[in-house]
Point group: C2
Chain length 296, copies 2
């Protein structure tokens, strides 16, 4: 083993979709763990994990998966967190770290925190990366490179545990940011949740069109619509849970968006050319910012 | 010259942005014209066209550009159409074909039609392709490959002229569709104009956030927002004119979108998990359609 290489011991992945399987690929590729145990809801997912060579062992039982694990990474839709931690808690070993990859961190703390046993550490995390594909086969080892991974440790969290989860995500190529959970959820409402909600909605609007018109919308989608269809192909269970768990922040940002859209609607109705031009010019600067931040 | 190769004679390009310069590159690369004359609003654009080697001659005067031209392609924002055709009309030669590349076809017919002299043909066209970049340097010869180019000839248009413009766009690698102008505008409202309007609006909403939050929105844009910033970096003049010229269809589709977004908002507020899941599942099918139609 490379002297510089870290070893995270026994890692349990609960859920093996896009994010979980990408993380597993990296751990396998770089030999970062002694053993990867994968737990999932279906035999099918477990078999795929074995076929892909990204699990050393598999089990349908959460408690069995987390037994003896040094790090437990919950990679399921957020609606499953409560039942997972209830099943896992009695089996967690002293000194273990529980983390997750969910897109909402306030609810992760609320759902997991009360069930974490004495001597076990909770360090929620959110790798800000993804594609529209889901399932174990969709993962790839480069998914997190140069992306951000945000940790939201609860107040007073163990420094050693924070360092371990930082090291784990740095090993994937991600950059680490530590943030308050509530602030994270507000930022993500704007950068991720509202864009997804809007994309889902407009693609839904298109599916409700008269049949002939709908076929043409697909045919001529290269004019902008196809980018929305890509976003709106993301995992339905995951996104349902995001919106249910980040309700307040999403509704707040949605309200702002709605006001702005109404203003645009009015500008179009009344032919206010300058209002339109001024906004369209202003938004270019944000794009430059995204490019400068190397997130384009 | 290759025996199979077509020659479109003398081609005048009025405007040399992303679309015009891409078309010029193809005509040059494949030797499809005897001469390309480029007209633009600024010396700067004309100099760039010469530097890029995509113009044989340049002029600031529309009338001079269209004189003796066999095909005149208007590639400017649509707000300039009326003044361009007024300047061009007296100089157009008998048998010339006037076409354009604008995103709204009803207004193209309305703005250009009344000024077309007897014996000159008007065949409006819309290549459904683009990027967020603009200007003469932004063009590239592959832009139209496997994309659609929609022709909206007015009733009774000359068949020979339709064939010539069909041939021109087929030579770019585009597939041709002939459509009624009003129907085109309705389809594009949904596939292109509303997606752009929404992207501009949400990026605008983000620019209005408190400074610290705005910086973070840029930093963590990989969660979905960056796709919107790309769309919202498109040419402001062009898009202002699209919304002003396709007002009725845009407002109609926007109304439908608004109703659907309000329904989603309500589902989030009341925690209606099934409503959210059902929509998110349904929109995946549209994505499959886009992929099957090879427009992904």
């Amino acid at each position: 083993m490379n002297a510089n290489k870290q070893n995270f011991g026994r890692v349990a992945l609960i859920g093996i979709g896009l994010i979980g399987s990408s993380l597993a690929r990296i751990i396998k590729r770089d030999g970062l763990a002694d053993h990867i145990v994968v737990s999932a809801r279906t035999e099918d997912s477990l078999n795929k994990a074995l076929e892909l060579g990204i699990a050393d062992s598999v089990t349908l039982e959460t408690a069995e998966a987390v037994k003896d694990a040094d790090i437990v990474v919950i990679c399921t839709p957020m609606g499953a967190y409560k039942s997972i931690i209830e099943a896992a808690a009695p089996a967690l070993k002293k000194g273990a770290i529980v983390t997750d990859v969910g897109s909402v961190k306030g609810s992760a703390l609320n759902d997991l925190g009360p069930h974490i046993p004495e001597g076990v550490h909770l360090i929620p995390a959110h790798p800000v990366a993804g594609t529209e594909h889901s399932g174990p086969e969709a993962g790839f080892a480069e998914l997190f490179e140069d992306r951000w991974c945000i940790l939201t440790p609860p107040p007073g969290a163990d420094e050693g545990a924070i360092k371990t989860i930082t090291d784990l995500w740095q090993a994937t190529g991600a950059n680490i940011e530590i943030m308050d959970a509530g602030h994270h959820d507000l930022v993500m409402a704007m950068t991720s949740h509202i864009p997804h909600l809007i994309a889902y909605t407009i693609v839904g609007t298109a599916t409700d069109l008269e049949n002939s018109l709908r076929d043409e919308v697909i045919k001529f989608s290269a004019g902008g619509f196809r980018d929305f269809t890509r976003i709106a192909a993301s995992d339905p269970s995951m996104w349902r849970d995001v919106f249910l768990n980040n309700r307040e922040a999403v509704l707040e940002m949605l309200q702002r968006f709605n006001e702005d859209l109404t203003a645009m609607q009015r500008a179009i109705r009344w032919g206010e050319a300058d209002t339109l031009y001024e906004l369209f010019e202003r938004t270019r600067e944000i794009r430059r910012g995204v490019i400068d931040a190397k997130q384009a």
